[in-house]
Amino acid sequence: MSSEILLEARDLTKHFPVTKGLIFSKKIGAVMAVDGISFTINKGETFGLVGESGCGKTTTSRLILILEKITSGTILFQGKDINEMTRDEFEHYRASVQAVFQDPYSSLSPRMKVGKIIAEPLIINGGLNAKEIEERVASLLDLVGLRKDAPVLYPHEFSGGQRQRIAIARALAPDPEIIILDEPVSALDVSIRAQIMNLLREIQKKTHNTFLLIAHDLAVVKHMSNRIGVMYLGKLVEVAESEELCSHPVHPYTQALLSAALPSHPDIVRELIILPGDVPSPLNPPSGCRFHTRCFKPRAICSQEIPPLKEVSSGHFVACHLD
């Protein structure tokens, strides 16, 4: 794992406009799904993004995958700004960023044979003849641990865990630089999760892929990630190495989140930090620090100024006025 930056988000912002009116729709507000976040992902690492519903982590992944248009800010890939890429460079970016989604039952085209599903990125990219494609599909199936006769079968003939393997094989097909893993195991049975997590780590060791892992299960994120970013209401509140984040969380929200994690043994008792109230509406986020309405150590400045993401120790960034 090098410290070469593969992907960088700069002030990435996505607003979903809320309109009113049937014929002449007027914009009356916007959902600030992602509000000016900046982070880097290093080549070969697994970067985990955690947060609760509405924090913007899924929208962030959609922005990186160009499934949604960026409102403002930008993404730099291998140093190049995607807004300034040539058409070829942009196509190369698209091919280098692949994804595995949460639901194994809706991730695969129901009426397409597995072989065709996995081969599709290769067919679209071009450059390989039919025999080469067949060989590559076979080697991918071997890599993810699926049976050799899989290419002629349909997705419904496979279990959830096996379908997720197919999805992983398809994501690996175009030899991407980075794979976005959006809750890759949360829809699977507990005994299958370990299989898939082990598989992903094995693949990473072999192919040196970079992963962006989005998950709500803190234990899963900590197990798989080198570094973790914590999001709240569209903002990145803390970024640090996994071990460091979990043992020395600085941001009050991170502390609350970690205190709420379920123990792995009944003797482990954590002091639960209760956050009063509900998560505010992303239509109308609080002024200043988004978290100040539920924070247990607020100061006057918190409601006035948005705290910037600052490095408080080597590699450990926090967006909080408390230092």
């Binding site: 609760e52 519903s53 370990a194 234990a219 900590k222 123990p263 792995s264 209760i274």
Partner: protein, 324 residues
Amino acid sequence: MNSNDTILAVQDLKTYFYTSRGVVKAVDGVSFELKKGETLGLVGESGCGKSITCFSIIRLVPPPAGHIVGGKVLLHGEDLLTKSEKEMTGIRGGRITMILQDPMMSLNPLFTIGEQVAEPIRFHQRLGKFEVWEKVKEMLRLVHIPSPEVRMREYPHQMSGGMRQRISGAMTLSCQPEILIADEPTTALDVTIQAQFLSLLKEIQEKAHLSMIVVTHDFGIVARICDRVAVMYAGKIVESAATRELFNNPCHPYTVALLNSLPKMEVKVDKLYSIDGQPPELHALPPGCSFAPRCPSVTGICLKEYPSQKEITADHYASCWLHG
């Protein structure tokens, strides 16, 4: 708080589903006891039969495919399976209540919160109109819903998932039930909300002297709030013990494998232990022990005969040929 009274005893419960693919033995000889004030966790993966066990206890197994074909469910010694439907409606919501997984589905979008919390009160108790509303407010306060007088008039869609789940809780508690069954109550909730809800459950349990059965696939929940655990696989309980004992000394290979396959915040491992194979097809179970095809310690007899339950240590039971 923990007395030695057993208030619920399930004995050899069997619930089968008759489908076009064959007989699915969803619950196949399940026995356990629930003591007063105790929280029992029913743990297992999807299809193991934990939810159907609970639905069988309150006799809500969906016909025509599902039938309770054997066993006893003794509530203070009375067998619920022999009661008439009329008697059961009195028991459901009154003495035994249930919270389900999806807070969106548990609440009727067309009625206010107040109406819905009032409904079980009106059904099970004879109270005047004013007293009903006072009770509703009391219940909402019990589950920490702020400004209950205002919230009472609101509709479910105006509330967050966590609040809806708490309102479900309020509905179930309004008639002072003895037993609360929670079926995956926090699966749809965020991490922090989940933690708060579990604390709330514990708090209510203490205040109302409730006994709880918590159905879950998450050992974290078990570790957090359960006193006893029963691990289910393919319709049977394979191991049961006090929580601490189970975590410290798991005996059945399935329990061992499952606990080892979970990533833990406190311990860093390189590779997680993973169980081979897939969960079994319930209409075509192998002879002998259902876990044998995936068991790392399988022996000859495992493939032929299902192991009977043995007491390993005090109050710690397991069904495995490795232990006698």
